[in-house]
């Protein structure tokens, strides 16, 4: 994988930090140069619609802040000192030590040092995860933390709870609406009689992490990330896993309900009843929006620019839910061949009516150029089939692209720098409505 213009992801340590920052009362101990913790936090913060420091993230995150001397002589003693002081000082339910590029290069044995503190005066559980920045990107860092938790913190439970599942594949910060999305998915599953561990939403505690071993399904809402990790967890903890697309809007969520019902042995009638009830409410809201939408004809030519987790769900929403003309779906993650194949297969499966182009492209400039290759900006003909009215569902980096083609832009994908995101999410029924509100809100913004 080559160089990347303005990557819309960070490194493995960055993903691990963002993940831990979203876990309730869990503290990281970063074994790295002083800048890693602060800079990577800032990356996640500014790109996620300002998901803040929380309990002990940002510049409150404990960091060994190794210096050149430690690089030369080894950083293990400095780490031991930092762990000891952190346990003494910080009030957290779980501590996770993270390694970094430098400490992996010099060969610090982070897990070994951490083991010395397994028995500590505070009874605080502590584990270590190896997260060299160069080892993988931030999405993998998320998986690495959960693999570490299953390895050292979550006990295998032989007797599974048939109504409990764990949700994976929604990556804090790098999926900027993760809180709202998880809350909505949990709400819908709750209506089906299914309990869901989201790990990150309000009300979740370390007990939910600990009890994750009793789940009867690991539901992965990503078709690209964390599948290998979940396979290892299936072997170690006996929890089967399945991947489903993140549903956005009524049509997709109805399918999601049917799929998840089948996986969790929920009677189909229950699922149908829930979907019908939700759809009634959903379309009652949509009904009221039509006077504005139809008179103005807000149907647009749509472009989606998003990560591997959300590109297809957003495209589905535009095309299958609100009937836009979907032309391009750009996937901005740095994917290997196998991951691309998986995503392409999913895209084929979607069988869109007028098939949009699926393009794998990480660079902001190249995305724009790819578009103009197909569609010259200036045509001398008096009559031509212009790409207008256009709308981009992308990141804040698409500002220039949107200006160039005079398109509307709603930033929904990392980095989202021009919005504050709190409990908003675009998943499920409520998310579909919120997305419609925000898209149309952009279009009526100048009024």
């Amino acid at each position: 994988m080559g160089f990347v213009e303005k990557p819309r992801f960070s490194c493995m340590l960055g993903g691990a930090l963002a993940t831990i920052n979203a876990l309730p009362r869990v503290a990281p101990i970063v074994h790295a140069s002083q800048g890693c913790g602060g800079n990577l936090y800032m990356a996640a913060f500014s790109g996620s619609g300002y998901f803040g420091s929380g309990y002990c993230g940002g510049n409150s995150a404990p960091s060994s802040s190794i210096i050149e001397r430690d690089i030369v002589f080894g950083g293990e003693e400095r780490l031991a000192e930092q762990i000891e002081a952190t346990l003494e000082l910080m009030d957290a339910d779980l501590f996770i030590v993270l390694s970094s590029c430098m400490t992996e290069i010099i060969g610090d044995h982070v897990k070994g040092v951490t083991e010395r503190f397994h028995k500590n005066a505070y009874g605080a559980p502590i584990l270590a995860v190896e997260t060299a920045g160069f080892a993988a990107n931030s999405y993998e860092g998320y998986g690495k933390v959960f693999e570490g938790l299953f390895e050292s913190y979550i006990d295998p439970v032989p007797q599974k709870d048939p109504r409990l599942l764990n949700i994976f594949g929604v990556i804090p910060s790098y999926d900027p609406f993760f809180r709202g999305e998880l809350e909505e998915i949990r709400r819908i599953l709750g209506r089906l009689g299914i309990k869901a561990n989201t790990f990150f939403t309000n009300g979740q505690t370390v007990e939910d992490i600990r009890s994750a071993g009793a789940a009867s399904l690991n539901l992965n809402l990503s078709s690209v990330y964390f599948a290998e990790g979940l396979e290892r967890i299936r072997v170690s903890h006996g929890i089967p896993h399945a991947a489903l697309e993140m549903p956005v809007g009524a049509q997709a969520t109805e399918r999601f309900i049917a799929d998840v019902s089948a996986l969790m042995d929920v009677p189909p009638e229950t699922g149908d009843a829930v979907a019908a009830d939700e759809a009634r409410r959903y379309y009652a809201y949509m009904d009221r929006a039509l006077d504005l939408y139809a008179d103005a004809d807000f149907q647009q030519y749509g472009i989606v620019v998003s990560n591997a987790n959300r590109a297809i769900p957003y495209a589905r929403y535009l095309i299958e839910e609100i009937g836009w003309i979907g032309e391009y779906v750009f996937v901005t993650d740095d994917l290997d061949e196998a991951q691309r194949d998986r995503l392409s297969a999913e895209f084929q499966k979607a069988s869109f009516p007028a098939e949009p182009r699926l393009v794998f492209e990480t660079g902001t400039d190249r995305i724009m150029k790819r578009f103009f290759e197909d569609r010259p900006q200036f045509v001398k003909d008096r009559y031509f089939d212009a790409f207008s009215p256009a709308f981009i569902l992308g990141s804040s980096l698409e500002r220039e692209f949107a200006q160039a083609i005079n398109a509307g832009l709603l930033s929904v994908s990392f980095p989202v720098t021009n919005r504050l995101i709190m409990h908003r999410g675009y998943a499920g029924y409520n998310g579909g409505l919120a997305l419609f509100e925000d898209i149309v809100g952009t279009l009526v913004g100048p009024r």
């Binding site: 160089f3 303005k6 490194c11 503290a27 913060f45 510049n59 995150a61 740095d334 980096l397």
Partner: protein, 508 residues
């Protein structure tokens, strides 16, 4: 200095007496610094912070028509999304054309750490040149490739033969320095070694033929322009309103001003040596560049504190005027400005008097803000400079005169010490560097950002703007109260019983 010939600049940790960990009064800090007893101070517990890469990139990003290649894994530089808006608006406020904001990551992976990242870097430089046709390509070195031995100077020099842009290496691996301020030296070192700093005859100045009738007049005009122009060295922590205010004051002294180094175009740098004086706005920012220009070109420089606060602005202006024999004019300006400001401050004074403040941020700025707060009638109960080095001594000697007993906590963020101090002192106001304000708010205290790109903090305009700002944030602290009642800080309760400096080691 002899540093300028080397590929990489020395970090401040090596060239100065420097510390990032200290707690005590100004007197003992000064004693420790001068006695060489502060450098060994460290912490048993520390918290995440930024590194010199962050600030080096921020400085590089300000250069128009430049593209920056961050040579490292994808995480290094990924914080730059936060900088884009700030730099775009700051450039616009200065009337600088800065249409695209482009940086690349070489996205180093496992294999590159084993085999070296040379090819990837070369490919990225070629792509940047071909695609964006920039004037400058900065190449920023991060920790991992620095340790495995990628020689960015050699790679840059090789690539220079095939690309049109000037390829400029920046040596900024985070682990090399404990202080973010080393970034100034890094950036200036790159400018010194790779930018053109001398005017080109014909392009930058034109003298008529020696026997032309107006030769003497033109010659005089040229010399006069040179002897009447000063370079003002800016920094990311000064906004466009700051520059405007300082330029206004210098113009009042009948001096022409060119502003460097941020937001200056590569081609503008040729004129940097066509000035009579280099003026720095901070003791710890610019000595590396100023010393070079002095040694190489015989240009005098003025590093005389910050023009922040009423008296300090006057002193600074007098120091500049003194170099041009214009003290009389300066005194008249100061008298007029102070009279006008003093009237304007009257209605605000009542809202500020007796309020207690803690200040947290850059070493020189916090000292000047402390003195300004005293001028405004507030009481300063704590000072938290990010680092302390021997360049700061003159300013802290002055600070000692104003606050012999004030508590100084040298700490780059280190929120645990901050929270302990806030619980202890219960100040009314925290003036804090970005990244720390939210924590002060969680502790229930009114906060004002240490500096802001949209509001002056320097000069007389800065005093008024800040006084107004402090009065505003003190006027309603409902949010702070509600947050403090409902949000928990992450420390065990025993921590607040302990001395805030209990985790500092090596302090004598």
């Amino acid at each position: 200095m002899g540093y300028y010939e080397q590929k990489a600049p020395p970090v401040r940790d090596d060239r100065l007496e420097l510390t990032t960990a200290f707690g005590g009064c100004v007197e003992s800090l000064l004693k420790g610094s001068k006695g060489g007893c502060t450098a060994g101070c460290a912490r048993r517990f520390s918290q995440a912070n930024a590194c010199q890469l962050l600030l080096t990139l921020q400085m590089a990003f300000t250069v128009p028509e430049a593209v920056t290649v961050v040579h490292g894994p994808a995480g290094c530089g990924s914080q730059s999304n936060a900088a884009e808006f700030a730099i775009r608006t700051a450039a616009a406020a200065r009337g600088v054309k800065r249409d695209r904001f482009i940086w690349l990551s070489t996205n180093l992976q496992n294999d590159d750490i084993v085999a070296g990242g040379r090819d990837k870097l070369a490919e990225a430089i070629r792509y940047a040149d071909r695609t964006f046709a920039p004037r400058v390509i900065f190449v920023a070195l991060t920790c991992a490739p620095a340790v495995i031995g990628d020689d960015i100077d050699e790679i840059s020099a090789d690539l220079q033969r095939e690309v049109a842009a000037r390829v400029v290496p920046l040596h900024c691996p985070g682990f090399k320095s404990r202080v973010v301020a080393s970034a100034y030296d890094t950036f200036y070192h790159a400018i010194i070694r790779h930018f053109e700093l001398e005017p080109r005859p014909g392009a930058d100045y034109r003298l008529p033929f020696e026997y032309a009738p107006d030769h003497d007049l033109k010659e005089w005009q040229f010399q006069r322009e040179r002897s009447n122009t000063v370079n003002l060295i800016n920094a990311s922590s000064y906004g466009a309103p700051d520059e405007k205010e300082i330029v206004r004051l210098l113009n009042a002294l009948d001096l022409e001003v060119r502003v460097y180094t941020e937001y200056a175009h590569y081609d503008d740098f040729r004129k940097i040596t066509m000035a009579a004086l280099n003026i720095s706005l901070c003791n710890v920012h610019d000595d590396y560049l100023a010393t070079y220009l002095e040694e190489k070109y015989g240009m005098p420089s003025l590093v005389s504190g910050m023009p922040l606060g009423i008296a300090a602005t006057g002193e600074w202006l007098l120091a500049v005027a003194g170099r041009f024999g214009k003290e009389g004019l300066a005194r008249r300006i100061i008298a007029a400005e102070e009279a006008q400001l003093s009237d304007a401050l009257l209605p605000l004074r009542g809202r500020l008097a007796g309020r207690r403040a803690v200040i947290n941020g850059g070493v020189i700025r916090v000292a000047y803000i402390a003195i300004m707060l005293q001028e405004l009638g507030l009481e300063v109960v704590g000072l938290r400079p990010y680092h302390y080095d021997s360049l700061s001594d003159p300013v802290y000697e002055k600070l000692r005169e104003h606050f012999p007993d004030v508590d100084v906590n040298v700490a780059a963020s280190q929120m645990f010490e901050y929270m302990n101090i806030l619980k202890r002192e219960r100040p009314d106001l925290c003036v804090s560097h970005g990244g720390s304000n939210a924590w002060a708010m969680k502790a229930g205290i009114a906060t004002a950002p240490l500096f802001s790109p949209n509001q002056a903090s320097l000069g007389y305009a800065g005093v008024y703007a800040q006084a107004r700002h402090f009065a505003k944030v003190l006027a309603n602290t409902a949010l702070q109260r509600n947050i403090a009642e409902n949000v928990r800080l992450p420390y065990r309760s025993e921590w607040y019983e302990k001395d805030p400096y209990s985790y500092i080691t090596g302090q004598i």
